[in-house]
Symmetry: C2
Subunit: 395 residues, 2 copies
């Protein structure tokens, strides 16, 4: 049984075999931290990744997809201050040149270096600034906790807090990770970048399977505004430095805990959030149906505005379930909000005045009465602050 | 060639053979108009309808679906002030009793009377108030323009203006219609009610085909917040009182013009709208793909907030097109906003400063370069007023 982040050290340098750093390279006009490097010192270099399913992929995503085909990574270089998306051949050359420079500094090939970017779409990155920054950040690399927290800070865009998590296993291995993402959080992850490290020894196919399963149950179950980014990337690097071969099932479970922890931090820090909403669907004909119904309710703008207004508007929840592309029968459709059954068989049941939505957390339960499928989707309310941040901030 | 509403009389009493009225029956606490009746005096009574695809259907929708199976209607009774949705057997009995009372007053069967309701989900209608209102509204029936405008006023909920349209054909027949709907405007029409009348003579299957085609190209191409109501209903009643057999193609074209006019009025009056946005997709592999891409861009919360901020954020448009479930190739993806080509082949092109979004109308053009499929979806921006209205108003 692994221990989650409550007790475990967090961040990408908490497992053995990793050094990292984050600096202000001058990409952001604000002068804030904007460039990060994570280095795997081995002895193993197995790696896996999940990238956005958007057909419009940023240059660093196209680069990282290529290098991931080897199943091994020595390093990841990440920048905020620009997404390097919709930037054409020049943008791809910037991503390539960045990986080359990292390879030169570390003494490895560019093909062993993944690149991640986040920020405004459609602007070229200042290539010389990024390349000079690579030299500087490499000089700051450390295996201390400051290395991990430096990365967490350097990848922030509209995030208000850095996000790290970790887990340790009694067998002797550990996992550490960081993420960024506060806007555009979507079914397929969001404008989110995440780097997760482990000192467990696993074969690459096991790493890959573990990462896909953990992402499916965590980042993919977070849906703030239904958008999907050009840049979403989750990378998992394994150094094997613990010298312990991890049991794949135990590793997958621990990795899922870490990813859920990071996703919860993203939900709490999503743009303009005043309510953290969990939509739990039970009794669906299948798990897929449960996900579809939960996601439809979680995305419904009328449900989200009602929650912002602390209004237990179960009618909007029932209506959203009713238009989900899944098996739903009004006769067996119940809606419970924060523990109060408000709707039974698609008919008004309890007293909405009994339902207290004054707190920050809201649990919307939709029972379909058709089978054993269950799923939870996390989302947020739709607030004035969401509108303000996304209309005023060009991203 | 039919003449559209710019010159033609509008409203449900503009065609021959119809009387109508709207009154304040006391259903709304505000004392505003809330009950309407539209009567077809014949000589023909052909009718067609389209109702919500939501699996959670309001009681009046279940009733109206049944009576539409005969293909004939003598009257439609409509109320605002309550949706009669999620109200169980008691709610269905209220809808039935309302149709019965209309039948008694008019001397026809309840099965010849459609019922439409709009307002809050999950509350019973005050049945006695509605039934007494039927007697009162029947006493006010008139074939003058006031009849049509009375209906338009009585079906309003959060609408700020009544909505009517009409068309006349040189062959001697005409069409008149009204609609309500300002919130929850969605792919499958919205919490919208619409009654359209015509004095053309057509066989019922022709009416039915014309209505489905017109709805597909108008109300179904309006998408304000992606929700779908429990109550959406569009009804078409044909009196044949012009004595003219209409050409089905000419009739379908004129009906489509009227429905597009009504949809445009709904877009302009949608909750919290500060921008009227048209998303036009060309070059899609198929028309279905064009609709999917246009709808995905039109629904994207980040696109909608950018428009509220008058920000020509083509990167968000390209990203939304990229996650649409349709064929999209970055290499041939162009984005033009208000006439300025900003993105060519998914790469930054023109100068965003050339793009003027200070006006109320925004045209977003997405050219896919893959085929001949085209489609337009109308939507609105996502504004502070939208959040305010939908968090403060329980509906």
């Amino acid at each position: 049984m692994s221990e989650n982040t409550d007790g475990a050290p967090t961040g990408v340098t908490s497992p053995k075999g990793f050094r990292a750093a984050g600096i202000a390279a001058g990409i952001k006009a604000s002068g804030r931290a904007d460039l990060a490097l994570v280095v795997n010192d081995g002895p193993r270099f197995d790696a896996a990744g999940v990238v956005t399913r958007n057909k419009v992929k940023a240059a660093p995503v196209l680069w990282t997809q290529q290098v991931l085909t080897t199943g091994a990574l020595r390093a990841v270089v990440l920048n905020s201050g620009g997404a390097n998306a919709c930037t054409g051949p020049e943008g791809f050359q910037t991503a390539h040149a960045t990986a080359e420079r990292v390879g030169e500094v570390l003494g490895c090939g560019a093909v062993e270096v993944a690149v991640c970017s986040t920020g405004l779409i459609g602007a070229q990155l200042p290539r010389d600034t990024v390349l000079a920054g690579v030299d500087k950040v490499a000089a700051e690399l450390t295996d201390a906790a400051e290395g991990g927290s430096g990365v967490a800070a350097a990848i922030m865009t509209t995030d208000t807090v850095p996000k790290q998590a970790g887990a340790t296993d009694p067998a002797g291995w550990s996992i550490g990770g960081t993420t960024k993402g506060a806007g555009m959080i979507a079914p397929s992850m969001a404008t989110m970048l995440s780097v997760i490290t482990t000192d467990a020894a696993l074969d690459q196919p096991q790493l890959d399977a573990a990462l896909h399963e953990a992402v499916r149950l965590s980042f993919d179950r977070l849906d703030v505004d239904g958008s999907m980014s050009t840049n979403d990337t989750v990378l998992l690097l394994a150094s094997g430095a613990s010298g312990v071969e991890a049991d794949p099932a135990a590793f997958t479970a621990a990795l899922t805990v870490v990813c859920k922890d990071l996703a919860a931090q993203m939900q709490a820090d999503a743009e303009g959030v005043t309510k953290r909403i969990t939509v739990r669907v039970t009794g669906a004909a299948t798990e897929d149906d449960a996900v579809i119904v939960a996601r439809t309710v979680a995305r419904d703008a009328l449900v989200k505005t009602a929650m912002f207004g602390s209004d237990p508007n179960w009618g909007r929840v029932a209506a959203a379930a009713g238009y989900a592309d899944a098996a739903v029968e009004p006769e067996t459709l119940d809606v419970t909000i924060n523990g109060v059954l408000l709707c039974r068989g698609a008919v008004v049941a309890g007293d909405r005045n009994d339902c207290d939505l004054s707190g920050k957390d809201v649990l919307v339960e939709v029972a379909l009465g058709l089978g054993d499928g269950t799923a939870e989707i996390r989302t947020t309310d739709l607030s004035h602050a969401y509108v303000e941040e996304n209309s005023a901030y060009s991203s």
